[in-house]
Symmetry: D2
Subunit: 348 residues, 4 copies
């Protein structure tokens, strides 16, 4: 059950509502929101009477039953798209009327590498710069990232280009450090069910891009998003990046149908990652076109000034000129994408 309070409800009013919910046998789980407080409750009780009783209170705007196991991120709770505002001073929004392109190198390697990438992707039309400073690597002997030094380079690139920054956070210990340097914090596939991390991310307001685990179901992805939202941070962006299957022709298998499936279940924005989904540079442009056509809110693409020398993910990184060419080719598809967003908006 989700109860939306009226704007500017007082603390006393909120407490009254919580009290009443508890009387009906439910447990209060989350109170979030800035100007509007939203109360989530779970448990087993007399739903119908509880909802009625709550809606009778003047401070309550709406009380709804949510049948899905995920409450706050479910479409039953929210009827319009969640548009995530990025606070980098450029008015950038994800999940709204613009298709968002995020691009950059897998790892931040050096100032030169990062700056060249940033300038090129910005020119080609990307709005967000990706780059890993803390790297989750299968082997302890592989490059583990430049850590804080890498974060500083990202900050510099933001200042130089106006791009928003997305970078990965791997431990709840690092959340505040990374929040300081980035506009969007990325949770990698391997950490999608690192619940300690999810809870900590729920306690800040910085947008989070949550990547689907490589063997996680769509429902589990939504449950992990629910962790973040239920702990107080509604700014979650979902990301399909390929799942693990028996097929080895690609690094992962892009479950592209997850995009419309998620669009049926949630209002959160959905980004497609064609680089990790395929693991192969030559497949990225085709899959990016498919991502636009299927209705994703954006894509996140790995590029590198010299992929052959990249310390990680070289095989799937586009050369800067390839990225530029791809962006040109996407133009017609993005125009169709915008048409259908407009048509959708007109219907509401």
């Amino acid at each position: 059950m989700i109860v939306s309070m009226k704007r500017y409800a007082t603390k006393a009013e909120i407490e009254t509502v919580c009290e009443r919910i508890r009387e009906f046998g439910y447990k209060i789980h989350a109170i979030e929101g800035e100007e509007r407080v939203v109360i989530g409750a779970v448990g087993v009780g007399d739903v119908t009477n509880c909802l009625e009783s709550l809606e009778a209170l003047p401070c309550v705007e709406k009380a709804v039953r949510i049948s899905a196991p995920y409450k706050f991120v479910s479409k039953e709770f929210r009827s319009t798209r969640t548009v995530i505002r990025i606070n980098n001073g450029t008015g950038l929004e994800i999940g709204g009327d613009e298709f968002t392109v995020m691009a950059g190198p897998c790892s931040v390697e050096s100032e030169k590498q990062l700056m060249e990438s940033a300038i090129a992707v910005s020119r080609a039309g990307a709005k967000v710069l990706r780059g890993g400073a803390f790297k989750p690597r299968t082997s302890p002997y592989d490059f583990q990232g430049l850590e804080e030094e890498g974060l500083k380079l990202l900050k510099k690139a933001r200042e130089a280009t106006g791009l928003a920054i997305i970078t990965e956070v791997m431990s709840d210990r690092d959340v505040s450090l990374i929040a300081e340097y980035s506009d969007i914090m990325q949770v990698g596939a391997r950490n999608m069910q690192n619940f300690a991390l999810l809870k900590t991310l729920g306690k800040c307001q910085r947008p989070v891009l949550l990547k689907r685990g490589m063997s996680s179901t769509i429902k589990e992805l939504l449950m992990s998003a629910e962790y973040i939202v239920a702990h107080g941070n509604p700014n979650v962006i979902l990301c399909e990046r390929g799942i693990r299957t028996f097929e080895t022709a690609t690094r992962n298998t892009c479950d592209i149908a997850a995009v419309p499936v998620l669009n049926e279940l949630t209002q959160l924005p959905v980004i497609l990652d064609p680089s990790h989904a395929t693991g192969k540079r030559s497949l990225v442009p085709a899959l990016s076109r498919a991502g636009v056509a299927i209705g994703a809110d954006g894509i996140i693409v790995e590029v590198h000034p010299c992929p052959e020398k990249a310390v990680s993910d070289g095989a799937q990184s586009l050369h800067l000129e390839e990225f530029d060419r791809m962006m040109n080719d996407l133009r017609g598809y993005i125009a169709l994408w915008k048409q259908s967003r407009m048509a959708e908006a007109a219907m509401v």
Copy 2:
């Protein structure tokens, strides 16, 4: 190794070539083609000298080594798209400059059901009518198809609408019967490695649409296509229809990246089946758009005048009006598709 003879090579010349190949330690595997004979050879021998010696013969056009385990269907063998001509008198081609839409009910159920479907899909722009007369069903107690009676109805629908007919063949015993009634013979996912069936299909010239097995790799799909081609029938169309993974939100997981992967490995046309890939009607239009955008040669879609009453696959079948709407929505994407085919042709 593949040896293309010059046009109108004589029997004696062909025999000379085969003889020489055998001398170098190879085994002759297939001789196909109508006006031009092509000889495939496998084994271990002195490749370089063999190729040189063969190309020295005046009757030989080209002799090439093929490193892939699939020979005839490999891109090393053929440098241009394989365009499959359908002999239904309408000049229909698959794999060429037009995006092909195949549509129709899962099972042929009755004359009324089939005719309504045929007329509707033809009006909406489909060129091929699908419909199963022999049905592979998990349960022996489920509807097994109208069999020959169903084939007769398909023939009637072809006569009435001019649509080409595609229908499934489940046993090598039925190949000649089904070839008589259909323009394209479909091999279902469960029979992708029914080698007895593949060999028999290799002995006729009717085009074959070969569906990827639900746990078959892309390489295995190509090896199965190779069975058909190596036994004499070059008219193979590949079909991605979703693979089996842990995800249950969709009936199968559409491995959409298989389309560009196949385009890198083979010149055979590739069709996407968004109906089986998702198992859910509401996801079909989005996935169809993605199929066009990613560069498939066509789609095969299940429709039904009344999906709620369908004897099979009702949940994934579009209502006839939904199909019509989808075809309208696809128009812009198909226009972009044609632009890029034109650009590709201009580059050759």
Copy 3:
């Protein structure tokens, strides 16, 4: 619904029963059995009254509702283990009080190779000789089997050793030929849902070993068994041979828990194939021990006098001495297996 007639029921009595079932709205699906006729019916109707009405008939022994989608192979239908008698004159039974070991080469290659194998496996304690004469190969260029010549060699080996013969059948066209030469007909993983083949096998009485498809669920395996039984052949042996997953350290992933799962759902015997499940010779003995311990009815193992020179599956074939050593090591485990079968029998 399944209706068992009393022994020696007359044709007229059977017809009366079928008539009554149809009156209640059900469809008759199968009538099988030699001295006792069993009638299967599916559909939607007034179950309770129908069962009552049938049991009131003096010619009916028992009428039971079966809730599983598989009827004849379900445990609801049969309360004791299905013991399959092999008609090779040695009194061999599968599924009873003895653990059955089947062994032999992947492909029948030559008389020498087969005879050496047969003699060695017989000496070591195997009761069934495996060997493929018709081979399902991914590539059309790989060895396709000696076909009828191979069958003749198998017959010779049977005559020489008294071993029962199991060999694969790949097409409904070949069923009668293979039934002539073998004691058990094997359906390979790739043909588990070749329904034309299953139906034809249902029409003979020769025992069938049905291998689980590499991406088939346990339920689908039972449905395929149901095809054979419902078409008249109750002598089905199931086989777990590994499923396809993301793991590549082994050729397939042995779903060993399928054995107790099947034991909970059906009374059909279950055989484990440690050779295909792992694809690696060194893992076969350990997995065979696990197969005994978990309660399989037997194992089927690939051996070869010289695996390095085998035309197929060399990497997973045991040398003859390795097989002998393995059989020795299994002795203690098989003794425990027999104890628990005895204890089970005593409890009934």
Copy 4:
């Protein structure tokens, strides 16, 4: 490359060795061990000469090239089984001559529940008590564990029964807290690639049971173990607990062949978790037998005094009497297990 120093090598000697390794172009990665120092080095250099030069030093015992991507955990590095000593004062060892049974409830729920379980499993022959105080739950609304209160109850149970304690650690922040209360720290499947956690666990000496991720390969499991060992903690126990596949008859698919595969690649002990592997109580005894037979070093089993009321994993938890019965049934298999360990020891 791994270099074992002689016992009691001096700091200066160690530094000399490191220096020489660096001169050959390698990077020093880890120095571990208490009385004997072991140096790991990775990179690309002149291996042969480097090894020779190092072995020429009197302070070096052995210098070996390791070709596997995992170094310290590889069999190339260590020729005998890694026996993990548990410091709970009972002389308990894992990986040695005794088969280890770990058992207990999924979650610590109350003193009564835990004590009843502890006493029962101890009586039945278990040596380690499992119980979760920090619980990784898919839903934020599910029971998240008693946290430190739960740890205190575990300590109490240890004092009462002498059982060693294993409990899960979910964040690098909690490592020191959990190390204080437990004898073995468990890394759950969802955290197998939480590299921040693995690194922190590498810095303590408490044994770690590392569960395989549900879609992790065997190689990735070993790489994660390598993280812990390379950071200084050699006491790693591996655990196969089922992987995620398309099959839904069981909660996961037990990849039982992973046990002998791991035994070929590493000397670390391997434990089988039949509870999570199947998710179904009735399958646990059969799979436990298979685990003994295949040569695992132990099993970890969920039990509960009243599974129907368990807050988590009730369906897969054995009743206490069922566990007792299972332990009795395992006796014969464990006797065979010990025989083969003895035979192995005699052969060395």
